[in-house]
Symmetry: C2
Subunit: 387 residues, 2 copies
């Protein structure tokens, strides 16, 4: 028996932003029902629910949110199993990967992956502390390191060693906002300039507030199906061409190089090999730029530039460039509701590859590479999707 | 290509209890290294780590604990992917199931599943509140319901409808303590009597403190391998004969019957069907008796007695009875470190089926059924393991 190919047959998403009138469960149900409708199936057709979420146990004091989502979307009635997958900010990619493997195993034919995060219920130092739980608590956060502080340390060293101008780092955020201005789901739809990034309020030198992804609420959902199910039910779909995942030390200080995302290097190499394609075949990238510096590092570590030379690609990252980056608006401007972020990369890829991305459509898109990363690079999940 | 059978080739476990001198990471590493040693492989042979944990985000303020465990056990060096699986108190069974499916998919040949929980770092009303996050927070916990309160409501109604004497419910705890007295890893190794249970301090009427599983620290780990890997490396193993998972409404008030564990009924039926065996072939059960009442309900809903008649089996649940229950000591006496609990059921089954369970050995054990459950029954994972 050949292992089945896996297809995305539907996708849904809420707006991302400060959604104070919606609860965690509201968001999860909204995205899930939209995905079911888009796939043109019934809720009762689902055989499994994978939920991606990072911080609901703490922010919303709710565990077992997969069961919660199943209950409130009406699928608990059919007793469909539901489980949460967590790898901090890489939870979404990791959940899609589990669903992909489960379909490959022959266990299920049609599965939902839903990602959700409701982060604006707490604020100030409290949300920063909870976000810091994605780091090594004993070795990093207890001593005052935050995700922003560690990204800043990486940026400083990187700028120093490779003589990278501050402006080049800002360009990642500028590109995100330009693209998000064309995405109705994005948290920020205003365009910004390099000067605005550089003059915005400092967070952790050299990174300013416009270098940092926001605190967001939001949910995304996709429906995955085996090729057999898709054909039998005459459903359209976008193929998950390959999936790979890799790991590095959790704490930044243990890494061999603090500006090399080894987990991304390994996972992207595996993903390309498994897909049987070359990096030049990739039509667009969705990067995990929780901080602008990571966008630049990822261009390098995903294999598109040599270390220290990601900036040479900055002329090509616009929607109509040769290597469009974050057509969705990326984590900086579309928003970064942690558990939803990795799933939302698939939502964007699904639209792009179906030619339904509207104003931000990448012309002739054939393959997208999606990189979802935990914290400072502890976990990387890379997927390639295509027609 | 036939899908591979999946074997447990090694297992390790820490003591369960109030382990104030050990941290979350200490426990995870201790169990993991013991499992690797027991399997007679090297850490570098592992291809994936599934971590089961329920509450570390809140209690230990640590997310991405799969990455943490990989880092501290030395396997981050080989960049082996690591992900956490969470389904509240059913996390362990759910994590084993993900690993089982991943091997079936052909993606991996040898995988670790590690479960860990460090619960005694907080106490009193704080730990009760955090434990209540496994319920529906908005509909149950915010209004004051705790896991114990809901178990008590179920017990009262069950006792009333089926004329079940209080003593019969206590018998589940008595049996657990008798078995745990022979388990060196158990949190409580003292035998207790029905009278002691009934006279112990009340928690939520009719349940007393001796009806409730304790707050525990602990970790368990197992190594799973494909049949090919096992044969090639001439390793012994215990087969995971079948795996099934089902779901019910998260909130107890939504269930059709508050003393019927519909998720357990469905999952156990599927597990038996997939295994191609009958309930009479089961040599022992590991039940999810977080509260004694659930032990009685599970005897019924796993298919061993009609509803209301679980008590008729109480004469047979001892180690040398016809249906030994919880040879490990169960959640009540072995302990209940949430994320470790489901994995520790496999640790016990591994010992039993290899004939290495010492004083508590079930004679002639051929098949074990393991039931791991979330909260009041929202999620059930049932596995059958055998030679």
């Amino acid at each position: 028996m050949a292992l089945s190919d896996v297809y995305i047959i539907g996708a849904g998403e809420t707006k991302f932003g400060e959604l104070w009138d919606k609860s965690l469960r509201d968001l999860a149900v909204e995205a899930g029902l939209e995905a079911i409708k888009d796939a043109n199936i019934y809720s009762r057709d689902l055989q499994m629910l994978y939920a991606s979420n990072s911080l609901a146990g703490t922010i919303n004091e709710q565990s077992n949110i997969a069961a919660l989502a199943a209950d409130f979307s009406g699928i608990a009635e059919t007793h469909v199993p539901a489980v949460r997958v967590e790898a901090s900010t890489a939870s979404g990619g990791a959940a899609v990967r589990e669903a992909y493997l489960a379909i490959k195993s022959g266990e299920y034919d049609v599965v939902m992956v839903g990602g959700v995060e409701k982060m604006t219920d707490i604020y100030g130092s409290e949300i920063i502390d909870v976000q810091s739980s994605i780091l090594d608590r004993e070795w990093e956060s207890f001593n005052g390191a935050t995700p922003a502080a560690l990204a800043a340390i990486t940026a400083r060293r990187y700028m120093h060693d490779f003589k990278v101008p501050r402006e080049d780092i800002a360009m990642i955020a500028v590109n995100d906002h330009a693209n998000a201005s064309m995405n109705p789901d994005a948290q920020y739809r205003n365009k910004i300039t390099v000067e605005q990034v550089i003059n915005s309020d400092p967070v952790a030198e050299p990174l300013n507030v416009f270098d940092c992804s926001p605190i967001s609420d939001g949910a995304s959902a996709i429906i995955l199906a085996s090729d057999e199910y898709r054909k039998k039910n005459r459903l359209d779909g976008i193929r998950i061409v390959s999936s790979a995942m890799s790991e590095d030390y959790l704490a930044l200080h243990s890494r061999k190089s603090i500006y090399t995302l080894e987990s991304a290097r390994i996972a992207s190499k595996q993903a390309l090999e498994r897909a049987g394609i070359k990096k030049n075949d990739i039509s667009f990238l969705e990067l995990n730029d929780s901080y602008s510096i990571y966008g630049l590092l990822e261009l390098e570590d995903l294999g598109f530039a040599e270390k220290g030379k990601g900036r040479e690609l900055l002329g090509e990252i616009k929607i109509n460039g040769s290597l469009p980056v974050n057509p969705s608006g990326g984590l900086k401007a579309k928003g970064n509701p942690l558990g939803a972020t990795g799933v939302s990369q698939f939502y964007e890829a699904y639209l792009q590859l179906k030619g339904k991305a509207g104003q931000r459509q990448v012309k002739g898109a054939r393959y997208g590479m999606l990189h979802n990363m935990a914290g400072t690079g502890a976990t990387s999940v890379v997927h390639i999707v295509g027609e």
